[in-house]
Amino acid sequence: MTAVQTIGTGRPTEGAGPDGPTRGERISALAQQHGALVTLVVAVIAASLSFDTFLTTDNLGNMAVSSAFLAVVALGMTFVIITGGIDLSVGSLFALGGVLGAWGSRYGTVVALLLPLAVCGLIGLVNGLLIARARLAPFIVTLASLLAARGILLAITHEGATTYLVDDTSFFARLGQNKLLGVGVPVWITVALFVLGAVVLRRTRFGQYVYAVGGNEDAAALMGAPVARTKTTVYALSGVCAGLAGALNAAWLVSGVTILGSGMELEAISAVVIGGTLLTGGFGFISGSLVGVLLLKVIQNVINQIGSLDSAYQQVVSGAFLAAVVIAQTWLGRRRRML
């Protein structure tokens, strides 16, 4: 978990009064920033004590790879949510990216990766332009592109009847399935992307704009931040991430499965929120989203291990968990404002 902790640790100055943060503020801020991490550690310890099968290489490896795809989607979503927006289209874009990747893999790995990135990035760009330039509500624009992307997906798969397969000897398939130092390649790619994302968010001017736009759009505009361009970029970025995650997933499964991705936007939003990023915008961190994804996957894994519980309980627990986290987050936020 050390890798996670070193990738940026929120914004320590957030909410600080003129005399610096008080003790209560510091505790609230710590709980908000690291609550998910503490919960994850507790969950992992509890799971490894309860199930011999939990801490096996196979189980951890599977969990890591299956977390990787959601994590890449959540990475893009984090940027969007920090600007105060939301992207509901990522599940559809994930599925579309997978199908395009599988279809494109017959023309080589470059096409298999570039085609989904280009198409999903373009749809993300259109989302961004409609939201930033035409000033439409993010929630409704991305709702529309959720429908549209699924429509396009159905159209290119002949209403879902055609499944495009990836040649499992191709480089593209190996990109999804091979291991490096015992860890799946998608996991490495995900880790690299998170490091890159954290650097962009923390250390670049664009990252500052993302926080500024989410904190107060009018103030950001007065400060000279390119509000519209920043917003457009984060939605394009989210589309690219979803497309890439879909393509990697197709490489892993060696086929472009059309039924994937529904409900994924909810999982990604949950992960980001659980990770401490505020849905109101202006505050959040990349590492938290990774922790959020891992927490969701550990819970799913534990529920799977309790053989007598069927997958329906996963949804009950995830929903209750999301509610609990949001209640805690709202409460902590309010407490910090009041102190």
Partner: protein
């Protein structure tokens, strides 16, 4: 051009936009009907009208609740899961009679509504997140109660699903009655006015001493109950309980109907007539495309375009 003339053209444009927003959805429905009469064989048959009306009924009922939520500057993403929950409860309790099953389903809707409303009103969670949590958990509970599709063999449910009165299907009558009740509630009751005031500006409503929390909880209870009723009716029509797929993407259709109907997402205004027309518009659009052998994928793309156009037309007004 003089200053006055300039101002007049801009006022004209504003009025045109407003007209488009207020009546655009009715114009859309009219255009679709005329186009269908001209180009679709057998469109003008009682059988076809009946089919379309029966199909639109559950969507419309859910959209009525969604209109209330959106009018309060919220949204209810859990409606599809409430439909799934209600279809599971119907199957479980049908043994005790249709009425008991129906009441249980409605109670399920009330429980979800109270949970949504409490999260939003008391804890201050954003509606989109609160109802998201209930959306995930609700379908989970529905699947715990009834893990897979189950046929319904009950004469009462059969007649509810396919019976009619004076040639009008029960489903359509119920949907129409509920639309009237909701329209009356919005326009003529204290609750309706308080709801719109809260949607317009929650801080102002709070300062004015309105019972904000109670009204918000009631809004989500209404939405839950309407979704539960839609779930019962959909089960009656299908003669089966299918908690896995019943109501999936229903929140999208309902939001589309409301938004296309001219209710602004920023709250403070509710157009029930527009919502009815919006639901009919989407139904007709889908039916038209399918009738003309365009694959279902196209209907999704078309629906997406309609949503964006409707919101684009509405963007000049409201608070953003």
């Amino acid at each position: 051009m003089t200053d006055l003339a300039l101002r007049r053209t801009s006022a004209d444009r504003d009025r045109l936009l407003r007209l488009l927003q207020e009546y655009g959805v009715y114009a859309g429905v009219a255009v679709l009907i005329v186009a269908n009469i001209a180009f679709t064989p057998h469109f003008l048959s009682a059988e076809n009208f009946r089919t379309q009306a029966v199909q639109v009924a559950p969507v419309l009922i859910v959209a009525l609740g969604m209109a209330l939520a959106i009018g309060s500057e919220g949204v209810d993403l859990s409606v599809g899961s409430v439909m799934a929950l209600s279809t599971s409860l119907v199957s479980l309790y049908l043994g005790y009679g249709v009425w008991i099953a129906l009441i249980t389903a409605v109670i399920g809707g009330i429980v979800v509504g109270v949970a949504n409303g409490s999260l939003i009103a008391f804890i201050g969670v954003q509606p989109i997140v609160a109802t998201l949590a209930l959306m995930v958990a609700g379908r989970g509970v529905a699947l715990v109660l009834l893990p897979q599709l189950k046929d319904i063999h009950d004469p009462g449910m059969a007649s509810l699903g396919s019976g009619d009165m004076l040639g009008i299907p029960y489903l359509v009558l119920i949907a129409a009655a509920l639309a009237l009740v909701v329209a009356f509630t919005v326009r003529r009751t204290t609750f309706g006015r308080q709801l719109l005031a809260i949607g317009d500006s929650r801080p102002a409503a709070q300062l004015a001493g309105l019972p904000v929390r109670r009204v918000l909880i009631l809004v989500y209870v209404c939405s839950g109950v309407l979704a539960a009723v839609a779930g019962v009716l959909a089960s009656a029509r299908l003669q089966a309980s299918d908690p896995t797929s019943l109501g999936t993407l229903m929140e999208l259709s309902a939001i589309t109907a409301v938004v296309v109907g001219g209710t602004p997402l920023s709250g403070g205004r509710i157009r029930i007539g527009g919502t009815v027309a919006g639901a009919v518009l989407i139904q007709l659009l889908t039916a038209t495309l399918i009738k003309h052998d365009l694959p279902p994928s196209w209907t999704q793309i078309a629906q997406a375009v309609v949503i964006v156009l409707a919101v684009y037309a509405a963007r000049e007004r409201g608070k953003r």
